[in-house]
């Protein structure tokens, strides 16, 4: 695989220095969130927060509840209980439109693309550029789409085709482009590089660093610690719908985080959550 994968092999502490200012109110604060599907407690009294310019990696096994938790933030699911605060103020997020109004943009694990329209139509879906006569300005939208896609995936040319004709990686690029197109303040990335090749993955890593500089807060979700350890300022680990614990990335090693993911064991450098293994 790529060079970025290679230098993750050393199991040392996260080597970038934590520079995030966490003295003020967090950008996002999800408190005591629960949701159940039938009998399954997909998310069980989970709390998680995020500061401006911070990348919080949300880790956990398949089925840990990561996607469900962030779908509550993005407005896709309605929580059973708990509260969400955005910049210290209580937010009412009942549907995806509400979330977007708070500057929350999401790259879903399933990508959530409209398969039968082209890339530009997908990028602007729900926020189309209109002509002065109130009709769709497809030319302007395609021109914008070419710009942003050029930044993410310069080889991409298939602007006239419905996105269902695109490869998995190309579709993922479209989903990422859509999320960064509208000046997000809070970005949720659910396994954003799962279908990408090494070159595009490196491009997404660069993109995340750039967005961080613009003071955007990012939830970066993965079930694989190697993908996110270098990029994240903090890690939060979930297991069976509960938060095992959270830690500054520089305070823990990869092995310790793996222990959190697999066993639910909270290391000394981390703050335990309700899901931490009791000794």
């Amino acid at each position: 695989m790529s060079a970025t994968m290679e230098d993750i092999r050393d199991h040392g502490r996260g080597h970038h220095h934590d520079t995030v200012d966490r003295s003020g109110t967090p950008l996002v604060d999800m408190r005591d969130i629960s949701i159940a599907f039938g009998g399954i407690h997909a998310v069980d009294h989970a709390s998680i927060d995020l500061y401006s310019g911070e990348v919080v990696a949300l880790l956990g096994h398949n089925g840990a509840g990561k996607s469900t938790l962030i779908k509550i933030l993005s407005g896709a699911y309605k929580r059973d209980s708990g509260e969400i605060f955005v910049r210290g103020e209580k937010a009412s997020i009942g549907n995806p439109r509400d979330a977007k109004a708070y500057g929350i943009e999401t790259i879903y694990q399933t990508l959530a693309l409209a398969d039968n329209v082209d890339a530009a139509a997908n990028l602007f879906l729900g926020r189309e550029i209109m002509t002065p006569w109130g009709t769709l300005d497809d030319g302007a939208m395609e021109a914008e789409a070419r710009k942003v896609m050029g930044r993410l995936n310069p080889n991409f040319r298939r602007f006239k085709e419905p996105v269902k004709a695109l490869s998995g990686g190309q579709r993922q690029s479209v989903a990422i482009a859509r999320a960064i197109l509208f000046n997000a303040k809070i970005l949720i990335m659910d396994e954003p590089t799962a279908a990408l090749g090494p070159q595009e993955t490196a491009q997404v890593a660069d993109l995340i660093k750039e967005l961080k500089k613009e003071d955007i807060g990012i939830f970066l979700i993965s079930h694989d610690i190697h993908d996110v350890f270098d990029l994240s300022d903090r890690v939060v680990v979930m297991k069976n719908g509960q938060v095992v614990g959270s830690a500054r990335t520089e305070d823990v090693t990869k092995d310790e985080v793996l222990g959190m993911i697999i066993l639910g064991k909270c290391p000394p450098g981390a703050t335990p959550g309700p899901g931490a293994m009791k000794e």
Binding site: N95, A112, A114, D115, T135, L136, A140, R158
Partner: protein, 438 residues
């Protein structure tokens, strides 16, 4: 990367670069192969019936009648495209046609004509407006139950099929209501409901201007964003074909002449002297046909150039993704059904005016012809794909089959068997085409 190689053919530096022959031609002219296939099928049907009927099918008179007969179902088919694209179905359109037709007839004879006067030019407007509003409300009600109460469209509109048919009976206790307003009857065509040779040429000229201006505007748009242009020869070719079609259609409707006695009556009414050798007065385009084409243009505009249309297709492709993108999918669904109801009312106006009366059985089975027209026209029952123009052509194909069989003197049961079989075969062929294209 593998995608880089497959992309080269689409690098539109020169759209034909690297691809020659038929494929390159089709790509350069941007002609839809499915559309071309349908036009081909239509021509085969026409020529076939012409030969079988001993040369009576491809006559101005028959083609003119065909155009008028297509209008009512064709209007509804344009709306059915959007319904099916959103992965729904509307089985109630025939009954909505029935009830709105009846409402319009009753409103006209019992209220508007007495109130506004027999000669008033407002009667037809009031009648039509009443019908449109009723259609909109009926469709909107069904759409509400489907979108907001979560009852499947199949069930809601199956219920609607019975409810509105019953409603039509209830409006006039099963009587047939003859229309009173002559202006309204023009909507149905007939010798008075046609615009004559001169106006037909004017319509044709306007259409040509729009086609040319549209093509130029598209070129300007591509230039504005520095996208690759269609080659000039391809542009000229598609333009020429469109212009020939417009001129040809106009010549055909203009060569259908009023029969002798009617022409004499017309001449007397308009104070024209009857010359030696008789009069030559053309029908020209029928009003319902113009209405049909107008509806088609408006619906194409809605589907392609408005937010609403974009959302309809996005929902059809992936309803969950559309919702996550922030689209109010429930409202869009409601609006689709409301629009369908309104188009059923337009179709009701056409067919009521053509019959000069509203009958209780009017529109029976039209839902099936409408759905068939949309599906033959390339609308995918899986949702997400379909064109208005395709559905309009589909309606013409259906009507051509029926008219042709009537011309051949086939029995009604046999007609039904043929229409049913053709529908299944057409969709089967389309399935094969789609699998190949994918």
């Amino acid at each position: 990367m593998s995608e880089a190689t497959s992309d080269t053919s689409l690098t539109r530096s020169g759209p034909t670069a690297g691809v020659g022959g038929f494929k390159g031609f089709m790509r350069a002219t941007e002609i839809d192969t499915r559309m071309l296939g349908m036009i081909g099928a239509l021509l085969v049907i026409w020529v076939g019936f012409h030969i079988l009927s001993g040369g009576t099918f491809l006559t101005p008179r028959n083609l003119w009648n065909l155009s008028v007969q297509t209008a009512s179902v064709g209007v509804m088919a344009t709306g059915m495209v959007l319904v099916i694209v959103t992965r729904n179905i509307d089985l109630s359109v025939g009954s909505i046609l029935g009830v709105t037709g009846m409402i319009m007839a009753v409103a006209q004879t019992q209220y508007f004509t007495p109130m506004l006067g027999y000669d008033s030019g407002l009667v037809w407007i009031a009648t039509l407006a009443t019908g449109l509003v009723c259609g909109l409300l009926i469709g909107g009600l069904q759409g509400f139950v489907i979108a907001y109460l979560g009852v499947p469209a199949f069930i809601v509109t199956l219920g609607g099929l019975l409810v509105w048919r019953g409603g039509a009976w209830w409006v006039a206790s099963g009587r047939t209501i003859p229309l009173t307003d002559e202006n309204f009857k023009l909507l149905g065509g007939g010798s008075d409901g046609s615009i004559g040779a001169t106006w037909s040429w004017i319509v044709a000229a306007v259409a040509i201007v729009f086609i040319v201006v549209g093509a130029l505007a598209a070129r300007r748009q591509r230039k504005r964003f520095k996208f690759a242009q269609k080659p000039v020869w391809a542009e000229a070719f598609t333009l020429a074909i469109s212009l020939i079609a417009v001129v040809g259609a106009t010549m055909i409707v203009n060569s259908y002449l009023l029969p002798g006695p009617l022409a004499r009556r017309y001449a007397e009414a308009n104070g024209i002297a009857v010359p030696e050798g008789g009069l030559e007065i053309s029908f020209g385009y029928a009003v319902p046909v113009l209405l049909f084409i107008g509806v088609g243009i408006v619906m194409t505009f809605i589907a392609k150039r408005t937010r609403f249309g974009r959302y309809v297709f996005a929902i059809g492709g992936n309803p969950e993704a559309a919702e996550l993108a922030g689209i109010n999918t429930k409202r869009v669904t409601l609006m689709v059904f409301a629009l369908m109801g309104m188009l059923a009312a337009v179709a009701a106006a056409i067919s009521t005016a053509r019959l000069s009366s509203a009958t209780n059985a009017q529109g029976t089975l039209d839902e099936l012809y409408t759905i068939a027209a949309a599906v033959i026209g390339g609308t995918s029952l899986a949702g997400g794909a379909g064109t208005i123009a395709g559905a309009m052509l589909g309606a013409l194909v259906m009507q051509s089959l029926q008219s042709g069989m009537v011309l051949l003197g086939m029995d009604t049961p046999l007609q039904n068997i043929v229409v049913g079989a053709v529908l299944v075969v057409a969709v089967w062929l389309d399935t094969i085409y789609r699998r190949r294209a994918a």
